[in-house]
Amino acid sequence: MSETIQPDVTVDSRGATCPGPLMDLIGKVKKVDAGTVIELQTTDSSSSHDVPEWVNKAGHEMLDIVEHEDEGFWSVFIETTK
């Protein structure tokens, strides 16, 4: 169940216009150790494909994408592998 994922770090990019949620996520991935679970909170619907594309390209692991319909944002969970 995705609701049970407990992130080690949360990146709040809700409402981000620039540099954008994916840039915020990349900035955080650079700073954390392998095995860190990161939750990216985003109001940008394009994150649902941008983020998995980069995560796969960079060799990290996509865990889940959870939509919070009432609050109008998505939580994208990833785990760093290196």
Binding site: G15, T17, C18, P19, D50, G59
Partner: protein
């Protein structure tokens, strides 16, 4: 009792806020009810957008600096040249490098900007140049002046970074500059960006991509350099790719302030704030503006400028016992050079996609004119 407002950082945000506040609260300050103190670790302000022009020999450091004592209304504000070494939000007290007594505050505004952290990328200091600080811009100017052939790579490494348009401007200016010198055929130019397009803002990315194609500038996306081999002149990325270069111009990693992290005000040195009220989330009576604030928009001078106007209004209301009503909506304005004699202009707020106007010589002149008149902004006038 006197209400003490202390502003840390004498950049754009700090100087605009000081001047707007002292103007608005001059009567209260003269009556001794309010005291405004600006603390900065150097006696000068440096206007960072000049660095881009310094790299091409168009401006000097002298053009980029003014004494804070010329910019701030010293009849109504105290200017303290010292370095803040600690923030205690419980005691509402700052420790200072030179004054053991430190400084107490009732309202604290953090506006220390961003610092560069090139050491975060192994080999970057030895193998790369940049134009994000005076020494880097001066060294790059000399390197560019002597660069007659080879592969020039502009790599955006640090995210977030100051002035998000500057990397795009740099390659478009370099293209024009080498064409003017008759060297463009011997110089290959590549621009790399961390995400799947050429810029964080889609409309700017689309505009830049079209220009890059027209001007024979290579574009590499999903490119996050994590190591530089200065001997082999190779960039290595998080995505497992490599790129050879002859001259590397990098946007280095940026960091906020250790003061912020140590005070529990935010991760990575950026102050966590409400994006509309600019109030710190983790302490009372603490605010942040400019690059040190974690806002969902650009780390740009115009953001600091407009947020300072909002915060001046809110703080004036607070000290008068009124409910603050002004809010910051993310207003951001950027002139973007698209060559050596043309520029465009974008304006946006939180959540907006800006329209990129057709570049023109008039907008280029407007950007240069604004750079000259910037010191009026620092004085709180425009």
């Amino acid at each position: 009792m006197t209400e003490r407002i202390v502003i840390v950082g004498g950049g754009t945000g700090g100087s605009v806020l000081t001047n707007r506040l002292t103007d608005e609260l001059s009567a209260e300050i003269e009556a001794g009810d309010v005291e405004v103190t600006l603390v900065n670790d150097t006696p000068e302000q440096t206007y960072k957008p000049m660095f881009l022009y310094m790299a091409f020999g168009k401006k000097t450091l002298h053009d980029a600096r003014r004494p804070l004592s010329d910019l701030v209304d010293l009849r109504h504000a105290n200017l303290l040249i010292d370095r803040v070494t600690g923030v205690d939000t419980e005691r509402k007290h700052l420790t200072l490098a030179k004054d053991d007594a430190g400084l107490d505050y009732d309202h604290l505004v953090l506006a220390m900007g961003a610092d560069l952290a090139p050491d975060e990328v192994p080999g970057l200091k030895e193998g790369g140049h940049h134009f994000y600080a005076p020494d880097g811009a001066e060294r790059l100017r000399d390197e560019l002046a002597n660069f007659t052939e080879g592969h020039l790579v502009l790599s955006v490494i640090g995210v977030p970074h100051m002035c998000p348009a500057a990397p795009v401007e740099f390659v478009l200016m370099a293209d024009a500059w080498f064409r003017e010198r008759g060297l463009r055929d011997q110089v290959e130019i590549t621009y790399t960006y961390p995400i799947q397009r050429a810029h964080g803002i889609k409309t700017i990315a689309d505009w830049a991509t079209e220009l890059f194609e027209e001007r024979d500038i290579n574009l590499e996306t999903f490119f996050n350099a994590e190591e530089v081999d200065p001997d082999a002149k190779v960039l290595k990325t998080m995505e497992g790719t490599e790129l050879d270069y002859d001259l590397l111009v990098a946007i280095p990693p940026h960091t906020g302030s250790e003061l912020v992290s140590e005070a529990g005000l935010g991760e990575d040195g950026w102050v966590e704030v409400d994006k509309n009220t600019l109030e710190a989330k983790n302490a009372d009576d603490v605010y942040a503006i400019g690059d040190v604030a974690s806002l969902p928009t650009s780390k740009a001078g115009s953001v600091a400028h407009y947020a300072a106007g909002t915060l001046a209004d809110r703080l004036a209301s607070r000290v008068r016992g009124l409910v603050p009503t002004d809010t910051y909506d993310g207003k951001t304005i950027c002139f973007i050079e698209s060559g050596m004699d043309e520029a465009t202009f974008v304006e946006f707020s939180y959540g907006d996609e800006p329209v990129v106007r057709e570049p023109s010589q008039l907008l280029h002149w407007s950007k240069l004119a604004y750079n000259e008149s910037y010191w009026l902004t620092a004085r709180g006038l425009i």
